[in-house]
């Protein structure tokens, strides 16, 4: 149905672009007439994988929201600083009031882990939102306007896609002169922009030639309304799924950035990735400093991934047979 499938040229083109385009095509199902969400939900409700993912995600979000009240200590306060001795006892162990002990600055580890969920969610959500916003703007422009706007936007996207994503994120973070949590967010968001843009454009193009858009045109509906009321909402499916998955990768990527020393240098507000990144310096004698945040990351990333993957499967028209 969709243009890219019909156009044989794309079948021998850049693979990465093509993969995105194919994903985009999942927005027009074999039976696009059936409400995607409704039918997807019907199947998801009974899918244990999805439910586990959903449970983890909900738990995580709730934790992030209430953690400041849960945490016994202020995560930036260092109640155990007196015990910290660079040489002899750099990382205080568990004791009364500090069930997991402290970190290398005498801060309560449990509190930091709890409150860390909030910042982790923050980074994940904002990185995804920014990436999504950038992708939406570019993708909508390209998908709606076609012509030279489309070409220009897509060339830009192509250049961005020609660098492996994570490498691009590292470069952006490394090349920003003032590292902060926002550089992390922007670095991770930037690598999502071309993916979202291309995804959305592909899926908009698929919508553009679909009969219901044709019908709206035939009705004399004005083009802006067609784009925003008909094309965009129907094109969002794959984008939303991708966004769920990006939430997972964003958290992992943030950790990688921190590990390379490119993360947010200010660690008063803890973030799991950053905690993990910093803890690698102590991995020989105090591996628990790394293991706790790593486990948190793994579980949450897994939650988002399980949810995203099962969403994708549910939205994929092929699996609806």
């Amino acid at each position: 149905m969709s243009p890219s499938k019909k156009n044989p040229l794309t079948s021998f083109g850049d693979r990465r672009k093509q993969q995105i385009d194919e994903l985009a095509e999942t927005s027009v199902g074999d039976d696009a007439g059936v409400s995607l969400i409704a039918s997807a939900w019907r199947r998801l409700r009974r899918n244990p994988v999805f439910l586990i993912g959903l449970a983890i995600t909900v738990l995580f979000v709730v934790l992030a929201l209430i953690s400041p009240w849960l945490a016994p200590w202020d995560p930036s306060d260092n109640p155990m600083i007196d015990e910290v001795r660079r040489q002899t006892n750099p990382v205080p162990g568990p004791e009364a009031g500090h069930p997991l002990g402290g970190d290398d600055r005498g801060r309560d580890l449990l509190s930091r882990l709890l409150v860390g969920s909030r910042q982790t969610l923050f980074v994940g959500v904002f990185a995804t939102l920014f990436g999504l916003a950038g992708g939406l703007v570019l993708g909508t422009l390209a998908g709606a306007l076609s012509g030279w706007v489309d070409s220009a936007v897509m060339r830009l996207v192509d250049v961005m896609l020609s660098i492996p994503s994570l490498l691009l994120a590292f470069s952006i973070a490394a090349l920003s002169s003032r590292p902060s949590q926002w550089t992390v967010i922007i670095a991770i968001a930037t690598i999502q922009v071309p993916i979202f843009a291309r995804l959305l454009r592909g899926s908009m193009l698929a919508q553009r030639v679909s009969d219901h858009v044709l019908a709206a045109r035939a009705l004399g509906v004005n083009p802006a309304a067609i784009v925003f009321r008909h094309m965009l909402p129907n094109a969002l499916g794959p984008v939303i799924v991708q966004a769920t998955l990006v939430l997972a990768t964003a958290i992992i990527d943030a950790a990688a950035l921190s590990f390379l020393g490119l993360g947010n240098p200010d660690d008063r507000q803890p973030e799991w990735g950053q905690m993990l990144g910093r803890a690698t310096a102590y991995i020989n004698d105090y591996p628990h400093l790394a293991v706790y945040p790593a486990l948190c990351i793994i579980v949450v990333a897994l939650g988002f991934t399980l949810m995203g993957e099962s969403l994708r499967e549910a939205l994929d028209p092929k699996s609806r047979r």
Partner: protein
């Protein structure tokens, strides 16, 4: 076909050129870099100025870019300040390339040789316990931060159990002749079996860590592709012909399922470079990833620029190779 390759190569040149310009402008607009690296605490405005003048950094940026291009044409891409100080960045690239290729090849080999068979089996038994656990396992593989996994592997296999070396490419003191820069290959070529085996042992842990994500992705693509192909009418046709399951598996299922898998392998090869930054750092493995990590941290801009451009070029070339191999396996593309 030739047209197509030419087209892609021209595109690649374009991308690399645009990238070089963007990177150049960006890097030069950043503070620090070379000057800071050389002067350290000893920096004063005068020394700074002198050094900048000596390095031509005080000239307008387009003049600098022009000079950069001019030098680049002659194979000089600027000198590394941190990774291999004093060496031309492109030479650094060439020197570090074999290590990363060696590592990526092994990683890819692991990912492919596990991912494809497991993916096929999982699809064949879709819904079974094996399938479900394999899927969850692969998702966990994606969720574990690569560098953390690398640390764990290193901790258990190298530090605790001491079965494999901790870091590097070759044990100090082993007699090894360098020919190609591929240590394992060199060892085999010169019949220095010790050296080859030692170099190979150094590859194992980083390769395993590096392989997790490609493995997970390849596994799941294979599984999805096989599932899809199993549903195809032509498989039903093959069944209706009463063909043996061996023929059906090989000729009808796998050959078709390999198409998307090939694509994915290509993409993952490109992406390996980014993963290598993390694994090579953890294992202090002197490859491109390690070089990149160092230049990120210590702002070795010359190396950074060359490596990012090279990464883009490699990515495009790998993609091109995938496309060509695609043409070889997919007659619909080949015969167009």
């Amino acid at each position: 076909m030739i047209r197509f390759i030419v087209r892609r190569l021209i595109q690649m040149a374009g991308v690399v050129l645009v990238l070089s310009l963007l990177l150049f402008m960006w890097l030069r607009s950043l503070p620090g870099g070379t000057v800071s690296a050389i002067l350290g605490e000893r920096q004063t405005p005068e020394r700074r100025a002198a050094l900048e003048a000596a390095l031509g950094l005080d000239q307008p940026i387009w003049v600098q870019y022009g000079k950069f291009l001019e030098r680049a044409v002659h194979g000089n891409f600027g000198v590394s300040t941190k990774v291999l100080p004093g060496t031309d960045a492109f030479e650094v690239f060439l020197m570090r390339l074999p290590a990363t290729i060696e590592l990526s090849l092994l990683a890819m080999l692991i990912a492919v040789s596990l991912g494809i068979p497991l993916g096929y089996l999982a699809a064949k038994r879709s819904g079974s316990v094996f399938d479900n656990s394999a899927v969850v396992f692969s998702l966990v593989g994606v969720a574990v931060p690569v560098f953390f996994l690398a640390f764990m592997l290193k901790y258990w296999f190298a530090v605790e159990w001491n079965i494999l070396p901790v870091s590097g490419r070759q044990t100090v003191g082993i007699d090894a002749t360098r020919i190609t820069g591929f240590f394992v290959l060199d060892g085999l070529m010169t019949r220095e079996w010790d050296a080859a085996w030692d170099a190979f042992k150094h590859l194992i842990l980083p390769a395993v860590a590096l392989a997790t994500i490609p493995f997970a992705v390849i596994f799941r693509i294979t599984r999805a592709a096989v599932l899809d192909v199993l549903d195809e009418d032509y498989v039903r046709t093959a069944e209706a012909k009463g063909l043996t399951s061996r023929v059906i598996r090989g000729r009808h299922v796998l050959r078709n399922a390999m198409l998307p898998v090939t694509t994915t392998i290509g993409l993952q090869i490109g992406a390996l470079l980014a993963g290598a930054i993390l694994t090579e750092t953890v294992f202090s493995f002197p490859g491109l990833g390690d070089a990149l990590a160092i230049s990120f941290r210590d702002k070795d801009y010359a190396v950074l620029q060359v490596l990012i451009m090279a990464a883009a070029a490699i990515y495009v070339v790998v993609n091109l190779l995938v496309d060509i191999s695609y043409a070889i396996i997919d007659p619909r593309v080949r015969t167009r």
